[in-house]
Amino acid sequence: MNEVSRQDSKMTPDRQHSLNITNSIFKSEQDTVEQFHTVLLDKSMSYDTLLSEYRQLGQRYESLLKQATKLTRIGDVAQRRLMNAQKEMEYQNMLLDKQSRDIEKANSELQEKNSQLNETLTEIELMNDILEGERRKAENLLLNILPSVIAYRLQSGEEIIADKFDDVTVLFADIVGFTELSARVSATTIVKILNDIFSRFDALLDNHNVEKIKTIGDCYMLAAGIPVPYKHHMELVASMAFAMNHELENYVKETGHQISMRIGLHSGPVVAGIIGTKKFVYDLWGDTVNTASRMESSGVAGRIHCSEVVYANLNDKYIFEERGTIEVKGKGTMMTYFLIGAK
């Protein structure tokens, strides 16, 4: 193997391929070199022929020189173009990197703000929960003090509520024997006893659909037919009066306290509502209230004392006992009855 062959055998495939392409591109130039060698080796060539060949080779050489110069300049242009493109690409990459960093930074800031926003949101939700809890407490308190429809009217902005009702039944119940008891036990015990009794009455309210108005000392006041008018208001109050008596009897049995209760009932028109701006109380005004109170005060312990209007409306369903006439301030004498029980 000669030197050239050894070198060829060491060529990589890429190098060999590149050489082949180069050889192909310059085929005409290689032909010229071949021609030169042919002329050089031809010893029989005449001087004139040799001169002609020499002239052709010279012209060809001149042409090739021009081509080489041209190719070099064009190659330089192409290289400059590539370098400019490369610089532009590097510049664009730099811009992209900067944009990428800016976006990353903005994203990070956004995440931070988002996190802060979430924390604020959580705090707001917590505050909202607390506020909602407080609002519910306030609403429950209001509903505990006032009938629900009245509470909603106040919440919706009404400042003075004074509604006229044509037909309402009012009940007063007064604990009898309380004065004597007060002399024997402490004030704290008295309050506890009252609280126990009135709490039992309170527990009956919802089932009988009557509205507690207030307590005045040892007196318990309620009504039916307000704040929403109801046709059978007398029956409701009568039923409640029996239930209250029954509850007190149980209490006396359980505690041994020697107390009883006078109950008075009357029906008629009232004005119901709230006046003033502080310590709201849903109250009733009118002659009906005064008469109901008089029914209680002129009643008998353990009995339910009613006016004639109550008797007139309920005697077909309930048993009454005529009490007789009583004197009512500003109204003169009135026929009254004791409500005994249902028929």
Partner: protein, 126 residues
Amino acid sequence: MLVNIMLESTKVTPAITMLIEEGLVEIAGESYPENSVEFYQPIFDWLDAYIAEEKRYLTVNFKLTYFNTSSSKCLMDILDTLQSYHNVSEQVEVNWYYQEEDEDMLESGTEFAEDLDMTFKLVAYR
């Protein structure tokens, strides 16, 4: 037998259009094939056949935006062939198109035009 040739451009080779009836040759796009001679050989063959068989007017349009060195050698050889045809027929027109702001392609066209003795127009386009 001489036939029309129409090749679409690729990422590394230009579009080639060679129409016999119209006497039109057009090379457009970027040219940096892996093997320039292999790509341009059909063009040489077509030109040789056209010159030998048709002997009519020939318009050659170059609309190149980039070419590598081996492509530029092939382009130079094409121009040599066209110059030879012009020398015997005067039926050749070469148009070198370049984008209006592409000074490199204008410069390359000017280089190619140097030492040629035939119609060689430098045409700017947007």
